[in-house]
């Protein structure tokens, strides 16, 4: 098995809710990420999927300490990231970058493209002014932006181009690990493919490791080697991409996969797993298996006992009593 780049152990991210009391009388908390453990291997693209509000983005940001996790461990090449002092943390950030979801919000509107892309180089002392300028132009070409655009402002670009700027900035320092936080969900479908291909190319070229957060299962299938399925702040299933799409075990994964629209020649009516109701509030997570309120296979045990994560072999993990 490949080398571990990151180990995430028992990561928790709770947000207190102001002015709201829980059932036990203590201040209520939103358990956005609730005891999550997984590894990320060197050079892989690990998908993280789930419904809106299941904690995908929160995980990505907690790992990078853009928000401080409540509890847990994030080991990057064996170093506990969460324990680093601010100075060391800032140094380490060269190795861990992020591509944001919103290409309109993630670029400072008062800086030019050149300034935006060259800033990480400047910050981490890449070289002289000339070298930085040269490297910036290289990066722009690498992500498919014309170097003549150096002095332009972000608002002069389309969503896809802006996302390319964001990508160039993220890979400027040759990081080992990049969190891709729904990098294409804000883009038009036609542009999505281009940006996804760009990200895939860069990943292969520079041997990057991605944590690819998305709710688009087709995109995930296309780009990811392994996939984690999350529900309400906890991992439901982890498996290799092919395995997961071919043989989903968890009822939630099955439901998600059956929701992918498909074009087929025969007018075959696919078996569609329909989930009832909405995602329960993360303030008030159901006892037992947190999916039991919507699970089509729910039994008595699911209502009382939280299922442990079972190893089904070959790195296929699943949190279901009936796996």
């Amino acid at each position: 098995m490949a080398e571990k780049l990151l180990e995430i152990n028992n990561l928790r991210q709770y947000f207190p809710v102001k002015g709201l009391k829980g059932a036990d009388g203590k201040p209520a908390v939103v358990k956005a990420v609730d005891d999550v453990t997984f590894d990320i291997y060197k050079g892989e693209v690990l998908g993280l999927v789930g419904e809106s509000g299941c904690g995908k983005t929160t995980i990505g940001r907690s790992i990078l300490r853009l928000i401080e996790p409540t509890d847990g461990e994030v080991l990057f090449n064996g170093i506990d990231v969460l324990k680093l002092k601010s100075e060391a943390m800032r140094k380490l950030r060269q190795e861990m970058q992020i591509v944001f979801q919103d290409p309109y919000g993630c670029l400072d509107p008062r800086k030019t493209v050149g300034q935006l892309i060259s800033r990480p180089l400047e910050l981490h002392r890449y070289g002289t002014k000339e070298e930085i300028r040269k490297r910036t132009k290289e990066l722009m070409e690498l992500v498919g932006l014309r170097p003549e655009y150096y002095g332009r402002y972000p608002h002069e670009f389309s969503g896809g181009q802006r996302q390319r700027i964001g990508i160039a900035r993220a890979i400027a320092l040759n990081p080992q690990f990049v969190v891709c936080d729904e990098p294409v969900s804000a883009l038009d479908v036609s542009i999505q493919a281009q940006v996804i291909n760009l990200m895939k190319d860069l990943q292969e070229k520079f041997d990057l490791t991605y944590l690819f957060i998305s709710h688009d299962l087709r995109v995930v299938r296309y780009i990811c080697d392994r996939v984690i399925v999350m529900y309400l702040g906890r991992i439901m299933e982890i498996a290799d991409s092919d395995e997961l799409y071919a043989r989903p075990v968890h009822p939630y994964t099955k439901a998600l996969l059956s929701a992918i629209p498909e074009v087929t020649k025969e007018r075959r009516v696919r078996e569609r797993v329909r989930l009832q109701g909405d995602v329960p509030s993360p303030i008030n997570i159901p006892g037992g298996c947190r999916f039991h309120t919507r699970c089509p296979q729910c039994q008595e045990i699911c209502k009382t006992t939280e299922p442990p994560i079972k190893d089904l072999g070959d790195g296929h993990l699943c949190a279901c009593h009936f796996a």
């Binding site: 853009l66 800032r90 992020i98 944001f100 919000g105 993630c106 332009r152």
Partner: protein, 279 residues
């Protein structure tokens, strides 16, 4: 090319153009006051008191026989710099103060903003008068006093702006790159908050001049012989028969204030980067 752009700008912003022209005019008057004034603004001539406007004294003469026109002209040398200084000091101090409070948040924010609340809970003119009475009547004290009662509103506004900007993704991106907090504050957060602050500042220039004149009117600004507009209005108000003594300096205050307001409005459009660089 440049000319075309200028013409289009004037057509689009007629009020701003008028405002700018008026301000430039007053600035020129302030700079070239000795050349423009027809008389010494301090020279008294008791045989020639309270004369109405005429070819010799364009704006008439006041209670002491001083030439009102020359006094209004020299008054620009007091009121304009005073207004600018008040706004610059308030804006810089209040802006940084509010930005620090908003960006670092938590206890620091609470403490800093309660101080702001305390200052703001006093009526500003009354507080300014009280402070002026303590410090003594000089121009620099008058400016200082107005700054002391004015900076809180910049602090509040800046804090509000910073609170929204600090949650943006481009600030998160800066953190992710490993920028220092202080650098994020000064090179990312503040530049993105500054436009509304400048608009407020330029619109406030008029009010600052007004307040400075107000202190002068109440006898709390500059010491008497100085040709300060507010003080001149006050002089004239005592002898209402001779309207010209008050009306001309009053008109100067009014025109300058409103001109700066026009400029403030136009500045808001200009400072928006989305509108800049557009063909």
């Amino acid at each position: 090319m440049v000319k075309k752009k200028t013409i289009r700008f004037i057509k689009k912003n007629p009020l701003a153009t008028i405002g700018a022209l008026v301000c430039v005019l007053f600035l020129l008057v302030a700079v070239f006051a000795p050349l423009i004034a027809t008389h010494d603004p301090l020279e008294q001539n008791f045989s020639n008191r309270n004369r109405p406007p005429s070819a010799v004294h364009y704006f008439g003469t006041d209670n002491f026989g001083r030439d009102v026109f020359s006094r209004v002209v020299f008054g620009a040398r007091i009121s304009l710099p005073a207004g600018f200084l008040v706004v610059i000091f308030s804006c810089v101090f209040g802006g940084i103060y509010g930005a620090v409070a908003g960006y670092f948040g938590k206890t620091l924010d609470e403490v800093l903003m309660r101080i702001v609340d305390i200052v703001m809970s006093f009526p500003s003119l009354v507080l300014a008068m009280a402070l002026a009475a303590v410090f003594g009547k000089t121009m620099s004290n008058a400016i200082l006093v107005i700054v002391l009662v004015w900076w809180p509103k910049y602090a509040r506004m800046m804090r509000g702006l910073v609170l929204t900007v600090r949650e943006t993704e481009y600030v998160a991106a800066a953190v992710a790159l490993g920028e220092k907090k202080s650098r994020i504050l000064f090179s990312t957060v503040i530049p993105n908050c500054v436009a509304p602050l400048l608009v407020m500042a330029s619109a406030d220039l008029g009010a600052a001049i007004l307040m400075f004149s107000g202190l002068g009117f109440l006898g709390m600004g500059t010491a008497p012989p100085a040709p300060e507009w507010g003080a001149m209005v006050s002089d004239g108000a005592k002898v209402l028969n001779y309207w010209w003594i008050s009306v001309f300096p009053g008109a100067a205050i009014f025109i300058v204030s409103i001109a700066f307001n026009f400029i403030g409005d136009a500045l808001r459009d200009l400072l928006d980067p989305k509108l800049r660089n557009l063909e």
